[in-house]
Symmetry: C2
Subunit: 592 residues, 2 copies
């Protein structure tokens, strides 16, 4: 069975050596000194390791069962949820006014990584609740906030997001769920929603569904969509749980992975709903939280890669098979450990350099979210908005790929469910799909974000890269191993952006045909920038006489690998982009 | 539920327009005129589509069950196996002396593709039998051949290959299964073998296990391994089935996929075994069939990609979601089909161009096998031996990747088991692992094959490419779209080979660190060559007034996509290779 070891030292390095959160002027960051963050992460790590991780495979094997209309979660899930609730972990970065701990998002992200690595399917119950909490917090009336938020912060009540219907996923303009005004300010909701994560379960007293629906007579398409609060059980005036509200579970889906999460078909039949935000502005309200939700999914990609890597690494150290080509390294044993073999090492370095680069990218992104929320930093908001599809799409595409690489290192044992390597692959797979499939992320990036505000945010990103290079090019080693490759990759990205500008005007297909390639190109440049920043921080620590020399030298070696072997993919992505629309669109649909 | 449509027209194109099998001087190829191959493939296609494909999802859902020591296969498998047996399909390319049909391997490969696409897990029962048949055919005594082969050709008895033990997979020198001479020429076999595909089941009267074991007192390591025939039931002198032979099923593994195949732990306890081939030459005997077995696994990668693509394509034509960025293409409908979107089209083209290029590569490879067997063509044997790890490793890595891309096109529906997209991914995953994990293929390619016979075979491959380019560069369109990109890719491959020669001498790690990259580089050049040959054939057909203009123009457009958007990956692979050992091996094992 897989184990989980919280990456506390790596997180400390990113937070304090690289991002230097404790020196930031973002309100609330002043308390994030190494001792404080260390205490929180240490405790969160213990729960992840000791409570959540041991339930991961049980969740996969048992799955969720619908019995007589009631969804049963896997053995141990309820008790684990109680542990999180009792420790106050569910409201870590929530508003203190409603019982939250008021921590910055960056801390929530670090804690979230550990919980997702330990048990992704379990973590989603709290994750979805947090999403619904945020929507009500942003758009609810004072009464709504007072009624729902305190119980959602504690996860006494959990939450869901209901968008998809059988005939519409991405294209929400097609949705059919109806919301008929009753006359007393409430609505009657009728329709069927599918793929509702954490849609029903036995771990909370109530479930607060946020449901997109159309009010009859409203505008066509997405302009006629409103968002409603629809509790599973009606809530009485005193805040206690009342009668069932006409929400029934049609079925629990049989999925490739995340079996521990109940993905439900929900049928609403004259369910009482309350408008959240304004009429016909439902999409906007739902998507206020889009950046956070998508970053949360990007986190899943990285976190699954992290735990898959950790376990694969352990296997390659223990499994004896073959001899090093340069001479036996375990001469007294029957064979050498797998880790001596160059192609095994290559795979481990791919994984390690991705995971650590991805972690830095996510924590940096989270700090931009904090800068937006806590000090109204419009530039930070613009930049994270630009990078959100990259965080979501690139980190989940690559995260999945890395879980596959981790599985590969087990040979036949990786294909057998008992090692757990397969579960990481199957669980990671969903992150490429939900919260906007990665093709949609690429479209969002190239079709909307790149040119938004006159291209201001991508120019700011380029400036960040340029300034970092300029500031540090006096350091010869950093320049050769990190800055020069970063400069080349950044130039590829600029050339791609130029190509889109020049050709996309004439033919939007010329830009969109390269959208996925651009998302990956951008992702590599972002991770290249992260590695350059980490290398600088590691070198500074070494120069200032840090005691843990091996740790910092390992960072440098891992970073050099990324720059030398992963980052050159930007040239390939650019070459693909520059072939334009013709190869992609040249074949008529009927001739496929 | 997925459907399967045999790719008859595409196969015909490769066999007759590209490879021109009917004009070949390989003995037996003279009967392969279009009418004859058409009749066989048509009939094989019908069985694949109507008998095997409908059982694919049933096999996945039901799996194989061990009940009271007996393995039950999924509902319908036995009847389907009877259909294949009755039609003589199990012995299609087997020796007529033992009841086979004596067809060339290239026809067996084309038929095999359809059977694997339709139902990979089911196909393995016959596939393993074929492997065991080949081993006995090559190394058995006349008595052994007479006793076992006729019943294995008909699959009245099936076969297995027993290599792996709990503590050793790749490193067979570590194996512990014992074979003690009894004195009458037979041996007593004792030990545990794991991951035995088709290891036990209820579809045949007997199972002929081929088992690697050590005769006590023999040489250490791989030089002391012998191969034994160990029937599940003892065979009486008259050839009828007798008493059980001490072979029991320890368990059936829970796997990520191929649930319809019974992957067994087999315990041998004083089981009677008969030496196959010479004492202590067991590995050699087992690996005589290695090229065919590995090509068969490469075929699985391609075939799963093919059927996954076919179904995803259908979905993108039917599912209405969003509008084309260049204006509605289905203005009377609520939305346009998915296939109008450039990133969807990009994914479909990736899949289509890989599948069709891979199919040509496999059928060409199969024809080289035939040239080796049927006319003792040593150059053909050398070339296919060189390319075998590429066929296995590249086609299964990419084949899996393409099933993931196919799944992605369904959005959330692809993650739900009921669409079948997940099964193609889960089934395809094993092909990267078994029959030598892909890292081992890369090692075999770079560490052994590349320099074998003084590099003669890779030079022959380069000459093939060069000659093709030279012969055809008078055709301006072919030159620009196909020959020039092929030349560039081939140069990258030559540069990589040069690098290995120069650096690998000094430090083998410098070559092996790039082994997986080289395997992919080679694969792309091979598919580039295939596309160039297909483009030439398509253009010739058009020039000679072929009636199906759209078919041949589609070939050209698909090929142009491959050359423009996939082939440039060779430059990236070369860049990675040329970074050498340092990035990969620079970090000490203990510092990971």
């Amino acid at each position: 069975m897989p184990t989980y070891t919280p990456p506390l030292k790596d997180m400390h390095f990113v937070l304090h050596d690289v991002l230097k959160v404790h020196e930031s002027d973002i309100p609330g960051y002043d308390e994030l000194d190494p001792e404080f963050t260390g205490a929180i992460l240490d405790e969160a790590g213990k729960i992840s390791r000791d409570v959540l991780a041991p339930l991961n495979m049980i969740g996969d094997t048992e799955g969720c069962k619908l019995e007589n209309g009631v969804v049963r979660t896997p053995a141990g899930f309820k008790e684990a949820f109680d542990t999180l609730r009792e420790g106050g972990w569910t409201g870590l970065d929530c508003d203190p006014e409603y019982g939250g701990q008021g921590m910055p998002y960056v801390i929530g992200t670090a804690v979230g990584e550990m919980q997702v690595s330990a048990n992704m399917a379990f973590n989603m119950y709290g994750g979805l609740t947090h999403g619904a909490y945020s929507a009500i917090h942003a758009h609810g009336t004072d009464e709504q906030k007072a009624m729902y938020l305190p119980k959602m912060v504690t996860c006494e009540w959990t939450g869901t997001m209901n968008l998809t219907e059988p005939h519409c996923g991405t294209d929400l303009g097609l949705l059919r769920t109806k919301a008929e005004p009753v006359g007393d300010g409430s609505y009657k909701i009728t329709g069927t929603k599918i793929f509702i994560s954490a849609g029903d379960h036995d771990m909370a007293d109530n479930i607060i569904h946020l449901v997109l629906a159309k009010i009859p007579g409203g505008p066509e398409g997405v302009r006629g969509i409103s968002l409603f609060i629809v509790p599973k059980y009606k809530v009485k005036e005193d805040g206690s749980v009342g009668e069932p509200n006409g929400v029934s579970v049609g079925k629990i889906e049989e999925k490739m992975g995340i079996h521990g999460n109940s993905t439900a078909v929900l049928n609403y039949e004259d369910s009482v709903g309350y408008l959240l935000g304004e009429e016909n502005k439902g999409l906007k309200a739902m998507f206020t939280m889009m950046n956070e939700a998508r970053i949360g999914v990007g986190l899943q990609g990285m976190a699954q890669a992290a735990v898959a890597y950790e376990n694969a690494l352990e296997y390659t150290r223990e499994r004896l098979q073959g001899r090093a080509v340069t001479g036996a390294e375990n001469p007294d044993g029957p064979a050498d450990p797998l880790i001596v073999h160059p192609d095994v090492r290559r795979s481990l370095m791919d994984q390690k350099s991705f995971v650590e680069g991805g972690r830095a990218f996510l924590l940096w992104g989270a700090s931009l979210i904090d800068a937006g929320h806590r000090k109204n930093d419009a530039d930070a908001v613009g930049l994270i908005s630009l990078m959100t599809p990259v965080i979501k799409g690139f980190l989940t595409d690559k995260g999945f790929e890395m879980t596959v690489q981790a599985q590969q290192l087990y040979g036949g044992h990786g294909y057998i469910e008992e090692t757990g390597a397969s579960q990481f692959v199957r669980d990671a797979r969903i992150a490429m799909i939900y919260e906007g499939a990665n093709g949609i992320q690429a479209l969002d990036l190239v079709g909307r974000k790149l040119a938004s505000d006159g291209g201001k945010h991508v120019m700011a990103f380029f400036d960040l890269v340029k300034d970092f290079i300029k500031e540090n090019e006096g350091d010869a080693a950093l320049k050769k191993d990190f800055l020069d490759p970063l400069k080349a990759a950044s130039k590829d990205m600029q050339a791609a952006a130029m190509y889109f500008m020049a050709e996309g005007m004439k033919n939007p297909n010329a830009a969109l045909a390269g959208s996925s390639d651009f998302m990956h190109l951008f992702g590599h440049v972002a991770l290249g920038l992260m590695w350059a920043r980490m290398a600088k921080a590691a070198q500074e620590a070494l120069d200032s006489g840090a005691s843990d020399v091996a740790f910092y030298e390992t960072k440098l070696a891992t970073g050099r690998y990324y720059m030398a072997r992963s980052l050159p993919e930007t040239a390939l992505r650019l070459a693909r982009i520059q072939t334009g629309a013709e190869p992609v669109m040249g074949l008529a649909a009927e001739n496929f």
